[in-house]
Amino acid sequence: EDKVVQSPLSLVVHEGDTVTLNCSYEVTNFRSLLWYKQEKKAPTFLFMLTSSGIEKKSGRLSSILDKKELFSILNITATQTGDSAIYLCAVPQFDTGNQFYFGTGTSLTVIP
């Protein structure tokens, strides 16, 4: 059965810390992995990763995919209180009608 697992489930850090969020997957015919950030509303898209070993970067956030070991990590450096959110990982699966499988998310709290 296809699945996506995120760890840790929750994390509390101080401003300025660096955090690493993990997403492992078992999805047949893998093509891409997506990261989303969710504050008190709808998830918003952060990154899409399709190739192994190529880092995607946006400001203090970066992500990388390892297709051999079937995981991705999302790094946030110099965390700020505005980074507090739930971070979701998703993998689309096209064999079953273009469904997207989500992990349960990592809840990040950044305290001043």
Partner: protein, 115 residues
């Protein structure tokens, strides 16, 4: 936000009553989805649609039905609401990026409380 509108945004209802949530999109996307989000469970797919009158079940479809009579509208119906259906419901569309990969874009969500 890919022109996705959900209505109502908030609803409180009583057990046993029917409820319909509406998702409207303005960009002619083929695929539309309904997810529910609950603490500890993340986003779980209820139903999805791949065209007018073409729908299929997701992992938590029991107690829900959907209809898509027009490309732009995807309706989620709870025939007889139960307290376990208290949740936040998100509609989403799938759009293809220039890289060829598909990305989900979400509506603002509908918070449903069943008393």
């Amino acid at each position: 936000d890919a022109g996705i509108t959900q209505s109502p945004r908030h609803k409180v209802t009583e057990t046993g009553t029917p409820v319909t949530l509406r998702c409207h999109q303005t960009e002619n996307h083929r695929y539309m989805y309904w997810y529910r989000q609950d603490p500890g469970h993340g986003l779980r797919l209820i139903h999805y649609s791949y065209g007018v009158k073409d729908t299929d079940k997701g992992e938590v479809s029991d107690g829900y039905s959907v209809s898509r009579s027009k490309t732009e509208d995807f309706l989620l119906t709870l025939e007889s609401a139960t307290s376990s259906q208290t949740s936040v419901y998100f509609c989403a569309i799938s759009e293809r990026r220039s890289s060829g990969a598909n990305v989900l874009t979400f509506g603002a969500g509908s918070r449903l409380t069943v008393l």
